[in-house]
């Protein structure tokens, strides 16, 4: 019985889906207003931004890396598209400028990490600083908000406020991205390679995987998805605060890890990430509606990350011990993951001088 329970919980998204249902029920009982259509849609739209960031993060983490810059890149992309809107360009140009900004940071992060072999933690921490600073510079040139409401700006804000057959546009975009990327991760050769690279980078390379290209690609994806979130954010807020995106990387990591993606690479789930993003948005909205101080949300976030990691190690260990004997009854040895770049040289064995 316990064995099946352990295995069921280990399956992607089951535990997090359960937590989501419990949270929704709890808030509905505490505050009946929570369960109104408007509020539910609002919560889902709120979650869409984190969801997009976290899905990109899921690919980076699964490939054994980390991208701390996604929040800042989202903010800067939002700022750039807003700036271009403010200059009076066609809204399509503004969208492309925002996406281009994310693409640029993704390409740059990926190049420095995957091609030059720099440490991803340091590189993306640097990008976080650069993108965050750039947004403030932009803001100091001209306030980043939509000032006149004309046809053009309406087309832009439609991205966030519009509805197609009654469903808000951000939800349609997020659901499309989640479904598409879940299939990509689970069923495509690319997704399989992403997992292999995160699981054992040297083995993947020697099995013929172009490791540098895979790692480069996941950073590009993270940057681009951050930009999508940024453009939607700009459209929704109609003004971009100079500190937009600050701390979003923490929420993105939390959503990915809560959803069942391993911080150490090799295992990831887009659907789990999406459910966890939904859970975080539910908690945030629920706490607000219940009149709880917003700071508690950050505490819950921190506790949630640690609890999720502990929980996953428990289920992995438990179901493995039951099914395959003692060899697996331990957390996998992962000490080399974070220092992979230095480790590669040693792993070459006799090739050293």
């Amino acid at each position: 019985m316990r064995r099946y329970l352990g295995q069921a919980f280990a399956a992607d998204g089951v535990a997090i889906g359960l937590a989501l249902v419990i949270a929704v029920l709890a808030f509905s009982i505490l505050e009946p207003a929570f369960w109104s259509i408007d509020n539910v849609l609002n919560v889902i739209v709120q979650s869409a931004f984190i969801m997009l960031l976290a899905v990109g993060m899921t690919f980076v983490l699964t490939a054994g890396g980390i991208d701390l810059s996604v929040g800042a890149v989202m903010g800067f992309s939002a700022g750039v598209s807003m700036y271009v809107m403010g200059e009076g360009y066609w809204f399509g140009i503004a969208i492309l400028a925002g996406l281009g900004t994310g693409l640029f940071f993704g390409l740059l992060n990926g190049f420095l990490v995957a091609r030059l072999g720099l440490n991803d933690f340091i590189v993306t921490l640097g990008s976080l600083g650069v993108a965050g600073g750039a947004l403030r510079l932009l803001d100091s040139i001209r306030p980043l908000r939509l000032e006149r409401v004309v046809e053009e700006t309406e087309a832009f804000t439609f991205l966030a406020h519009g509805k197609v057959i009654g469903i808000p546009v951000p939800i349609i975009i997020a659901v499309g991205v989640v479904i598409g990327l879940e299939i990509l991760l689970r069923r495509s050769p690319f997704g399989r390679r992403v997992q292999a690279v995160g699981m054992q980078r040297d083995a993947a390379e020697l099995a013929g995987v172009n490791v540098a290209r895979i790692r480069h690609t996941v950073f590009i994806m993270a940057g681009l998805l951050a930009a999508v979130a940024g453009v939607l954010m700009a459209a929704r807020l109609s003004s971009v605060p100079a500190r937009l995106g600050l701390g979003f990387e923490l929420q993105a990591i939390a959503a990915a890890v809560l959803g069942g993606t391993s911080l150490f690479g090799g295992r990831g789930t887009v659907v789990g990430t999406a459910l966890a993003a939904l859970l975080l948005a539910t908690l945030n909205a629920g706490l607000q509606i219940s009149g709880v101080d917003a700071t508690w949300y950050r505490v819950i976030l921190g506790v949630g990350i640690v609890a999720a990691v502990a929980f996953h190690q428990w289920t992995v260990r438990f179901s493995a011990a039951q099914a395959f004997g003692p060899a697996l009854a331990r957390p996998p040895p992962r000490s080399d993951r974070r220092s992979g770049d230095e480790g590669q040289k040693d792993a070459r064995g006799e090739a050293g001088p």
Partner: protein, 534 residues
């Protein structure tokens, strides 16, 4: 075969017994790892512990070194029952284990490693603030290091710069400095070259002269003869017998280990003699010219024909693996050309190499071969993913069919194709990785130490696999530190030394008789260590 038939007469318990296990039992959820095993080790004796992977050797070692607690039976140290609480406690009791994975700290010197955690200090300050008295530490172990033929000029160098043998000596000296009476050596010769192995055996004899007992775990059964005073053979968690020095022959040990007769390496050699298939007129499959890379290797040229096995021998550090890695695009070349089937190819990464037709079976299986959490199926299909697509997406049915075919063909023992790779035994993991290479349909496969750390049964199966592959029109390059394996499998053997090819020899297949074989082996060794030319 009954256990009793092979068991040596019980040795009377005596004061000479320094370490013994008595009806030892160790269980894990769902399995018994050690089932009622008893034996005793006397002072100054070399005891070998052999068995296939999973037979229980490492569990016994872990009980003796205090990592696991027994579920039944007891451990006796100098005749007294003891509960060994931890590896530290084991050392206090005089039992030191030298693990297969080096436990030395790479960045520290030999002496610092020996005294790690027990440094002699000098100066007036409280302990944690004090200066390490290197001079006194050096003085204390100098003679020990000299006894073991350790070049004392190396004492001040970081351990990472030492050879495999030198590291073993540091471990031995460390154990002796702890006043150990028993040293447990887990596969001490793994990764050592032929002459380092011989030196290590000399050192084991020296330990014997010092009255230190050795419990020695090895896969290489040909090492046992003449070295081990007793050989304890495990099979399926039980002790199937203990052989005395006089009784030990590799064939007999193998028979006990696997419970059936198999070809030993000798019979492989005998089989290969005079069987060289004529491949001289076959097409060239792989030709490399003038390959150089930094200090790893210089101006290496070689050629492999269809249906041929080319061996590459040499000491550790001769540049063999570096050469293989550069050919498959894992490391960059400084200069040189690679031709596949007479077409020059540019290989910038391993994906290109695979497309060009070169697959690689890496030597460090655990870190460079397996994808541990993936299923057997996913491990096998990894190098040929594009073939299992339907409408752009991976088709799990097609993948499973491919895996099942190889599981059957290569006799990979797995409960199902969905079993995680890291729960397979070493030999079966290796077969799955060979299946991965075969599945990519390459023109040539480079095998790097293909039988390292696999048991004898799996070893013979791997030999057969390689032979079948080339008989079916493939080509192979084999890098191996086991001379018999290298000369036995290959039709030609290139010998590398210090990054260069120093000679070419025929394999056993071309050898006529015993004398021929012997002189071939001598020429091989001479080339590898640099004492002669071909």
């Amino acid at each position: 075969m009954t256990a009793a038939a092979e068991t040596a007469p019980e040795i009377a318990r005596s004061a000479a017994e320094v370490l013994a296990i008595d009806h030892l039992v160790k269980r894990f959820p769902g399995t018994v790892a050690v089932d009622d095993v008893s034996f005793a080790i006397e002072r100054g004796a070399i005891h070998a512990l052999v068995g296939e992977n999973g037979a229980g050797k490492s569990t016994i070692i872990k009980v003796l070194s205090g990592v696991y607690q027994p579920d039944g039976g007891q451990v006796l140290v100098r005749g007294e029952p003891k509960r060994i609480r931890s590896p530290h406690h084991a050392q206090e009791l005089g039992v030191t284990t030298i693990h297969q994975e080096q436990t030395l700290i790479d960045s520290l010197t030999a002496i610092e490693n020996v005294f790690l955690g027990r440094e002699h200090l000098k100066g007036p300050l409280p302990r944690v603030l004090n200066i390490v008295d290197t001079g006194r530490m050096r003085q204390e172990v100098l003679s020990l290091f000299e006894d073991f033929e350790f070049d004392i000029r190396q004492l001040g160098r970081a351990v990472r710069d030492l050879s495999g043998l030198e590291k073993q000596i540091v471990e031995i000296v460390k154990a002796l400095a702890f006043r150990s009476e028993v040293i447990i050596m887990d596969e001490p010769t793994a990764g050592l070259t032929e002459h380092e192995r011989i030196a290590l055996f000399r050192h084991m004899r020296r330990l014997q002269e010092r009255d230190t007992a050795v419990l020695w775990v090895t896969h290489r059964l040909e090492e046992l003869e003449g070295m081990a005073d007793r050989v304890h053979v495990l099979r399926d968690a039980r002790l199937v017998g203990t052989l005395t020095k006089e009784e030990v022959t590799p064939a007999r040990v193998v028979r006990m280990m696997i419970g059936r007769d198999v070809d030993s390496i000798e019979s492989l050699v005998a089989e290969q003699k005079g069987t060289a298939a004529e491949t001289a007129d076959h097409d060239e499959v792989l030709r490399v010219e003038g390959l150089s890379r930094g200090r790893d290797f210089t101006d290496v040229s070689l050629m492999v024909r269809r249906g041929e096995i080319l061996g590459i021998g040499g000491l550790a550090g001769a540049g063999r693996t570096a050469l293989a890695r550069a050919i498959i695009g894992a490391d960059r070349l400084d200069s040189g050309e690679i031709h596949i089937q007479n077409k020059r190819v540019g290989i910038r990464n391993t994906a290109r190499a695979l497309t060009a037709g070169i697959a690689y079976v890496p030597k460090e299986r655990k870190t460079q071969g397996i994808l541990p959490e993936f299923s057997v199926t996913r491990n096998i299909t990894m190098s040929a993913l594009e073939r299992f697509r339907r409408a752009g997406l991976l088709n799990s049915r097609m993948e499973a069919d491919e895996a099942d075919r190889y599981i059957a063909d290569l006799q990979i023992r797995a409960r199902s194709n969905r079993q995680p790779m890291d729960s397979l035994s070493g030999g079966n993991q290796q077969k799955a990785i060979i299946a991965r290479a075969l599945s990519a349909g390459p023109a040539v496969i480079i095998f790097d130490e293909p039988t390292q750390g696999v048991d004898i049964g799996a070893k013979m199966e791997i030999f057969k696999l390689i032979n079948d592959y080339v008989a079916g029109g493939g080509s192979a390059v084999i890098i191996s530190s086991e001379m018999v394996e290298l000369l036995g499998l290959s039709s030609r053997v290139l010998v590398m030394r210090k990054g260069q090819i120093v000679g070419e020899l025929p394999g056993y297949q071309k050898a006529g008789g015993e004398a021929d074989v012997h002189s071939l082996e001598e020429r091989f060794m001479a080339l590898a260590v640099g004492a002669g030319t071909a």
